[in-house]
Amino acid sequence: MELFDLTIHELHELFASKKVSSLEATKSLLARIDTTDPKINAYITVAGEKALADAVAADQLIAKGAAGTLTGIPLALKDIFLTEGIRTTCASRILNNFIPPYSATTYEKLKEQGIVLLGKLNQDEFAMGSSNESSAFGPTRNPWDTSCIPGGSSGGSAAAVAARLATATLGTDTGGSIRQPASHCSCVGLKPTYGRVSRYGVIAYASSLDQVGPMTRDVTDCAIMLNAIAGHDPKDSTSVNTPVPDYTAALTGSVKGLKIGLPKEYYIDGLDADVQSAMNQAIETYKKLGAEFVDISLPHTDYAVATYYLIATAEASSNLARYEGVRFGHRTEQAEGLIDMMTKSRSEGFGAEVKRRIMLGTYALSSGYYDAYYVKAQKVRTLIMRDFIQAFNDVDMILTPVAPTPAFKIGEKINDPLQMYLSDIFTIPANLAGTCAMSIPAGFSGSGLPIGLQLIGKPFGEDSILRAAHAFEQATEWHKRTAQI
């Protein structure tokens, strides 16, 4: 076992018992990044010097006995989180040279805990994508099969965890961008309830859908990370002011009598056979643990993808208007006048998928179409939300697949955006409803590609789904497998 193989809680034990220092752990990871990341391309920026400095500082805290669970733990963040003084690109050419003057609240919170920042992770540009292929810094490769995508948009975050290039990471999830790559890379990924975690300092894609969440080796690590980042932020008007429970305390307890819903709309004919098989096995495992299954219906599921691609793109078209080469970011070299300068800067700086979504979103908001598209989509969103509220009257949580298939090949769907969009079909509804959901390892395909299962919980029910996830993890060995790179 190398230091880079260890989880947060394992490393913490070693730090606490003075067997290992943060500096040693950090060096171990930096060395591995050096040798292994060229094959994966999980990192956009490696902050080697900063990491070492962070580790030294952390070791001092540990020596003083003033350390917390996360002190000295080497983490990496999706390049969507602003980190003061450290280049933050959002995987876009338009922010290629952007050094933020301030940090995201979630990063500040982790800093307060004394974490070590290894660097910034690759992603789909502006979080728009399901495969990490739209990054301006090249695709990230799935550690389980480097000819495959790791998922997206938090592809780098998932791959880094799976390839042991960071002990844990943070990603963001707007339509499944934490859960789907977690599923494709066999790690744990949790999207909290909307408003549970601050969005301040996180580059905005779709404001009413974006959420920050942990991506980790196991469920315990996930709870530890969530403890650190959850909570009200006065700088984020959409963050909720309710108490944060101790999520690690939720990890003991049985799932006996737990009512789990199986929505018929998610278990369709034509689901990949390996995925279906993994789900069947998971259901059996939960039954053995004492959970009860209830057939439910989420009738408006079919409209979720269309609803999402209207609302998210509309909000994105507005959120991305600030990138026009005036105050920061890429500005075109030659321009004739203001409009030309802005047009060229944006045309040169944005990738194809980003442009596609900006245009789609602008259209959905435009005069004459606003009611038919944007307003209509918001109404359907309410119906989707109601489906969940109804369902949660009868069940405690819902079990579904995460993705319709395991990871596909790099380049396979890039020319068919609609096919790409349809792969978000199981994850999008939870974002629209605003509730919490997580993906945990639940098996592998015939060709050795990971398959995750999704638990969708009640709003602010992260403790419940963590408990159920933990119980499943204890009863299975999927999370113990490592990718051979």
Partner: protein, 479 residues
């Protein structure tokens, strides 16, 4: 063909809060470019808006003062367009559910009261300022100063109920008085604290449909508003009578020529793609909040005006002058509390106080003669210690030295002489000296009375009580 103008006004009121509407940066005017900025008002990636509560309170006050309904659940919306003074590429404003709706103001035109509807009042953030020239020492260019970006504005939109430039100015003056009175705006039109856009159209008298309107943007003085509207009305009438059609467009008023001109066509019909801002939650205002805000509001000018008339019994003209601004009205009222002859106080405030303030370039807030001191002076006149005329001398001294009037009177020996005996002596002396004039008076030259009064005043160094002088002099002259 006779035409009737139709005018609607949109006023942008800059709110007098310490910090901006969505971030904690200072709103102070005149700082170095971009000194008052932060990630939020700079529109940096990842920044989020947080609403300033004071802005809401100011908006509620404005709404209550203009008889609006305060919307229970109002929504912030994004107004999307690209311009370098608009950092986010959108302005946070309100569209479908503004904070105040359906209010009105009454104006008085040629003695008649007319009600002007107010469609809505909403909150929004201001844009920054563009500066042109060699802004960075690198040659000709344009720079964006974002100090003003995100400062709070209220937009007050009137119904198209105005029918003349005079009505428009009257409405504006009242609105200006209200917002300064409430203390929500400093009213400084030169610095852009109160900016007016005028929508002007004309229609044939008796027609049922309004004509096409043109919008005159950003006029920042009452005089210019009047000129701009009048020019525009004439321009439109001339255009129509020459067979042309009024185009819906944005125009600028040029104070030098007194004309309006069309803005260059960056004004193709803009689709702002308004949608509710997902970074802000709906603003819920309950009746308790409204009640609390209402109780914190000062008595409004119109109400105070009426009260001065009915309670203090002063004429309408006085009441209007004394309620020109809140500080003056409060000064006056404080004075009346000390000295109950409201009309006398009014005369002195409108008279000597105003004159002295103007001459020394001070505002009523810095008046060296406090209400109490003024009242003291008036009491000295009232109880006969000094005459009204002498009081003016004392007043001037009070203004400079700030001393108590009683002290000044004593120091300068200005106590009025009311003793009839003393005055009689003086009169006797004068009548003896001016025997010729006495004879002329007695033969019918009544006008000479003034001469004798003057002589008495001269000898007594102005201190003789005029009423006593008149009484005694009349008696003595008549024999």
């Amino acid at each position: 063909m006779k035409y009737q103008p139709v005018i609607g006004l949109e006023v942008h009121v800059q709110l007098k809060t310490d910090s901006k509407i969505f971030c904690g940066c200072s709103t102070k005017f005149g700082a170095e470019p971009n000194a008052h900025t932060c990630p939020v008002c700079l529109g940096l990636p990842g920044a989020l808006p947080v609403l300033n509560k004071k802005v809401v309170e100011f908006a509620i006050k404005a709404g209550l003062a203009t008889n609006c309904s305060i919307t229970h659940r109002s929504i912030f919306a994004r107004k999307n367009y690209f311009y370098p003074d608009l950092p986010k590429g959108y302005q946070i404003s309100q569209f479908e559910d503004p904070i105040c709706q359906r209010g009105w103001l009454d104006i008085v035109i040629e003695g008649e009261t007319k009600r002007i509807g107010i469609t809505r009042i909403h909150m929004e953030e201001d844009a920054g300022k563009l500066v042109h020239g060699d802004v960075s020492g690198l040659g000709e260019g344009s720079g964006a100063d974002l100090n003003r970006a995100c400062t709070p504005l209220l937009e007050v939109v009137s119904e198209p109920d105005l029918r003349s430039s005079d009505e428009a100015v009257s409405y504006l003056k009242q609105l200006h008085q209200i917002v300064t009175w409430l203390g929500i705006c400093d009213g400084n039109m030169e610095e852009g604290s109160f900016r007016c856009d005028a929508n002007v159209s004309v229609m044939p008298v008796g027609a049922e449909q309004y004509g096409t309107r043109a919008e005159i943007k950003n006029v920042n003085s009452f005089k210019f508003v009047k000129q701009a509207i009048e020019y525009e009305i004439e321009r439109q009438i001339d255009l129509i009578e020459d067979g042309g059609k009024v185009v819906q467009e944005t125009r600028l008023f040029d104070p030098n020529s007194g004309k309006t001109r069309s803005m260059r066509s960056k004004e193709e019909a803009h689709d702002y793609r308004y949608f509710p801002d997902p970074d802000l939650v709906p603003l819920v205002i309950d009746s308790d909040w409204i009640k609390r805000t209402h109780s914190e509001m000062p008595e409004l000018p119109e109400h105070r005006r009426q009260r001065f008339i009915t309670e203090f019994g002063i004429p309408e003209y006085d009441a209007e002058v004394l309620t020109a601004n809140r500080a003056l009205a409060e000064y006056y009222e404080e004075c009346v509390a000390f000295h109950h002859n409201a009309k006398v106080v009014s005369n002195w405030v409108m008279g000597e106080i105003t004159r002295a303030l103007n001459e020394s370039g001070l505002s009523i807030d810095n008046c060296p003669v406090t209400p109490r001191l003024l009242a003291e002076l008036l009491r000295l006149i009232d109880n006969g210690t000094i005459s009204g005329k002498i009081a003016k001398t004392v007043f001037d001294e009070m203004w400079i030295s700030g001393k108590e009037p009683k002290t000044i009177v004593e120091e300068k020996g200005l106590v009025q002489v009311s003793d009839s005996g003393a005055i009689e002596l003086i009169i006797d002396e004068i009548l003896a000296k001016e025997a010729g004039q006495v004879a002329e008076y007695r033969s019918g030259k009544d006008k000479l009375f003034g001469f004798f009064v003057g002589q008495v005043m001269k000898v007594s160094k102005g201190k003789a009580n005029p009423a006593v002088v008149n009484e005694l002099l009349l008696k003595k002259l008549q024999g």
